[in-house]
């Protein structure tokens, strides 16, 4: 029990708080230098492959998910406990000190950091009365006993300090709550298509432990058009300049409304945010099989591989007869062919072309198993060849069509842009924001309010009443103490005070707090 108590006292001491803060700073660092799985899983595996010697050790230490690791949690939990353990007792002390009148006047005022004495022209009573009035006008809290007046000001500093720390703890609660309930999903939508907020429609979805599908707000978004503009000047050529998605949105009972989503301007639908986080190209193609039937028609999402939107994708025509048809290739928005092969040299679609290979094979059974739309499963397929035996590959521009050796054809009708939207809800955000606001207010009070204590006493001397005044700052870094002390003496009727400034006597009160 005694041990526990000792542990608690240690944990809630200022020194421990300080060391824990430094520890928090330290343990946060590795996560900024090593790739982190929640953010960049692929970079983590690349890194591990490149550094096999330490990969397992780092993995065991949780260095690829620092902010989710037990030791990171240990530090901030200890810090939170320490903070609460430190602040709660201070609340009690503070409440007591606020209810009590200012501390009694010490015996020797000349030992204080600043003091002044002098004879007063007033009667003892009038001198104290004058001092009291002056102190009140300067918003001091005043206590008069007998021959002296004690005054204190700056109670808000400790209030601010407590407010700051409690709000900080509250913010952590808000963050934790938000983490439990939040969700975030990503969906790719081609111009002209729509999306309904529904789990099955997402390409990628993450949510907190307490999330339930019923939390998804029902709404539908149509992406009517997406506008992208890029830098065409010499400097930063190709850098993104404008991205705008023009959408219509339907929620509740009303008619669909027009809206625009830009990079920094998410759409907010009933508290759910819709962000624009990516875009790319979708060639619109038609596949006709040798029977003359349309086996596939429509836009196909190609995924950008580099800054110039060299995009990789596959076109599948499972319904083509007599044979399955699959196309694999690149969409190049500004295509050139040079010694490096075909590639795109600008992100905008200035000279789009499609470069494709053709795969074919017997029709597949419906397995019902989901298959990625971005890759072609090649078992049972082989590349289509010309009668001479050459592999069929071709390049084709919008508006063109290619007849294939087996009698089928691919026509490249047009291209569209697609946008990737991120739908997210952060239900704890308001609590985080409120507590952060309170914390900042508390911090400012705590840093800028300067608590001060002043005292004045009138003693009968040989040549009439003498005034002694003195003052003390309860936190360092205050100015104007000397001025306040002489002002106080003057208010008590002293015309020519003898001032004393005493560095050595600085009374350190913070320690005993």
């Amino acid at each position: 029990m005694a041990l526990l108590r000792l542990f608690w006292v240690q944990l809630t001491s200022m020194r421990t708080a300080l060391l824990l803060l430094l520890a928090l700073a330290l343990v946060a660092i590795p996560g900024s230098l090593l790739p982190q799985r929640p953010v960049a899983p692929i970079r983590v595996s690349d890194w591990k492959e490149a550094n096999p010697a330490v990969a397992d050790l780092y993995e065991a230490l949780g260095l690829f998910d620092v902010y989710g690791s037990p030791w990171f949690a240990a530090v901030y939990l200890l810090l939170t406990v320490s903070l609460i353990g430190c602040i709660v007792p201070r609340i009690a002390v503070y409440l007591r000190s606020v209810r009590q009148p200012p501390a009694r006047t010490p015996k020797r005022l000349d030992r204080l950091p600043a003091s002044a004495t002098g004879t007063t022209t007033l009667s003892a009573d009038a001198a104290l009365g004058g001092a009291e009035e002056w102190l009140r006008s300067k918003r001091f809290r005043v206590r008069r006993d007998g021959d002296s007046v004690a005054a204190e000001r700056g109670y808000l500093r400790e209030f601010g300090n407590i407010l700051f720390h409690l709000s900080f703890a509250l913010m952590l609660v808000g963050v934790a709550w938000n983490t439990m309930l939040h969700y975030k999903g990503e969906v790719v939508i081609v111009e002209g298509q729509a999306f309904s907020n529904n789990l099955t429609q997402y390409d990628d979805f993450t949510a907190g432990a307490a999330f339930r599908p019923a939390n998804l707000q029902p709404f539908t978004i149509w992406v009517d058009s997406f506008i992208a503009k890029f830098e065409t000047g010499d400097v930063q050529r190709g850098a993104a300049r404008v991205f705008e998605a023009n959408v219509r949105i339907a929620h509740g009972a009303g008619e669909p409304e027009q809206a625009m989503i830009e990079v920094n301007h998410p759409l907010v639908v009933d508290g759910t945010q819709v962000h624009l986080i990516g875009h790319g190209y979708a060639p619109v193609v038609t596949v006709t099989d040798p029977n003359g039937d349309v086996a596939f028609s429509g836009p196909v999402v190609f995924l950008p591989q580099d800054g110039n939107f060299t995009s990789l994708g596959v076109i599948k025509a499972p319904d083509a007869r007599p044979n399955y048809l699959g196309f694999e290739g690149f969409f190049l928005p500004t295509a050139i062919v040079d010694e490096q092969g075909p590639r795109s040299v600008f992100p905008d679609a200035l000279a789009p072309e499609l470069f494709v290979n053709v795969w074919t094979g017997p029709p597949r059974d419906e397995t019902g198993r989901p298959e990625s739309v971005y890759s072609l499963t090649k078992d049972g397929l082989e590349q289509m060849r010309t009668p001479e035996g050459n592999v069929v590959t071709f390049r084709i521009a919008p508006g063109q069509a290619i007849d294939l050796p087996d009698g089928s054809s691919l026509s490249f009708d047009d291209w569209r842009r697609w946008t990737k939207l991120q739908v997210s809800d952060e239900p704890g955000l308001w609590l985080v924001i409120t507590s952060v606001g309170l914390a900042v207010a508390g911090m400012l009070l705590s840093l800028y309010i300067r608590p001060r204590r002043l005292w004045v006493r009138v003693v009968e001397g040989p040549d009439g009443p003498r005034v002694e005044a003195g003052g003390l700052d309860r936190a360092d870094s205050s100015t104007g103490l000397d001025e306040d002390v002489t002002g106080l003496a003057a208010a008590a009727g002293v015309l020519d005070a003898t001032e004393q400034h005493c560095d050595a006597a600085v009374v350190d009160e913070e320690e005993d707090a």
Binding site: M14, R15, A17, L18, L21, L22, L24, A25, A28, I29, G31, S32, L33, Q36, P38, V39, R43, V66, Y67, V175, K184, E231, G233, V235, Q236, A239, A240, R241, V242, F243, E262, V263, N264, H265, P266, Q273, H275, I277, Q422, S424, E426, L429, V432, V436, V440, M443, L444, L447, Y448, D476, S477, E510, E511
Partner: protein, 306 residues
């Protein structure tokens, strides 16, 4: 146009370097033992003659004035460079590392000149000109990039608020760290009783500590606000207010170190010297966030990389 905007910047770097040389000369001149003239006076023995102004003292003042004057001229060129850059780019000049560093140093030099003007604090001259010449020197050589419009993620009011707050806090943290370093030097000298030369011109250790705290007291809430504005911006731009991006992580690290500094100031055994070391650690993490993180790590911040 680009060339015209970088010319005053280069000029300012050179002038700051000269100012630093002047302050170094000031320091060197002040190192001449002050006891020399005193001995002469004592040795004179006879009738009291008015001591002529010591040549050393005169030189010290002169070099100091030259240093401040050069810094002021450098500051004019520097600010002109920042303004021209903004005019040429037709936006606020805070879109990349070069612009950030130059703007932030512009705030620092203005702050310093105000201190010299209002309080006569020329003792800040040497470290401040050192900071300015190194900073501007790196900016015009290593960090320089030609003018370009902003990428869409940076088009936001929050971006402006975030970066202005960051630049001002950067300036303040740097000045505060300089005061902390001088505090450490002066404290050591006071403890050994070797306060002489340049050190004798510094305020007392306790006053330096106090000044450092006041600047931190200004910078810390502003830095807090910078991080918050950044979080709001991130929420607009990326749909999350915090994502442990390296830049975010390091601003938190910096914040936590400064929180530790504030705690150290009220902790027995930590106030004073150790707190000053924390202030220095704070500014190191701050710099790392702008230089190290941009160059060593990959993140979402669009001006990561130069």
């Amino acid at each position: 146009m680009s060339a015209y905007t970088s010319l005053p910047m280069v000029l300012s770097a050179v002038i700051y370097l000269l100012a630093m040389v002047a302050h170094a000369a000031e320091w060197a001149a002040a190192r001449k033992p002050e006891t020399v003239p005193v001995r002469e006076l004592v040795g004179a023995g006879g009738p009291v003659v008015l001591a002529p102004e010591e040549p050393a003292e005169h030189r010290v003042r002169l070099f100091g004035r030259i240093g401040v004057a050069l810094t002021a001229v450098g500051a004019i060129a520097h600010i002109a460079g920042v303004v021209l850059r903004g005019v040429a780019a037709d936006r606020l000049p805070w879109g990349n590392m070069y612009e950030f560093v130059t703007s932030s140093l512009a705030f620092a030099v203005v702050f310093y000149l105000v201190l010299v003007w209002r309080r006569g604090w020329t003792w800040l001259g040497l470290p401040v000109t050192l900071l300015l010449s190194v900073g501007q020197g790196l900016a015009v050589t290593v960090f320089y990039v030609a003018i370009a419009p902003l990428v869409p993620a940076l088009h936001s009011v929050w971006f402006i608020i975030h970066i202005v707050a960051a630049a001002v806090s950067a300036a303040a943290f740097n000045v505060a760290a300089i005061a902390a370093i001088l505090y450490l030097i002066r404290t050591r000298a006071e403890a050994r009783g070797t306060v002489a030369g340049y050190l004798a011109r510094l305020p007392k250790a306790s006053a330096l500590d106090d000044f450092s705290f006041r600047v931190h007291r200004f910078a810390f809430p502003l830095w807090t606000f910078t991080i918050l504005a950044g979080a709001v911006w991130a929420d607009y731009a990326w749909g999350r207010f915090w994502g442990w991006d390296p830049k975010e992580t390091w601003s938190l690290v910096t914040w936590v170190v400064y929180a530790a500094y504030l705690h150290a100031r009220v902790t027995a055994g930590w106030k004073g010297v150790r707190a000053a070391w924390l202030a220095i650690l704070g500014v190191i993490t701050f710099w790392f966030n702008f230089v190290g993180v941009n160059l060593l790590t990959v993140g979402l911040h669009s001006y990561a990389g130069i």
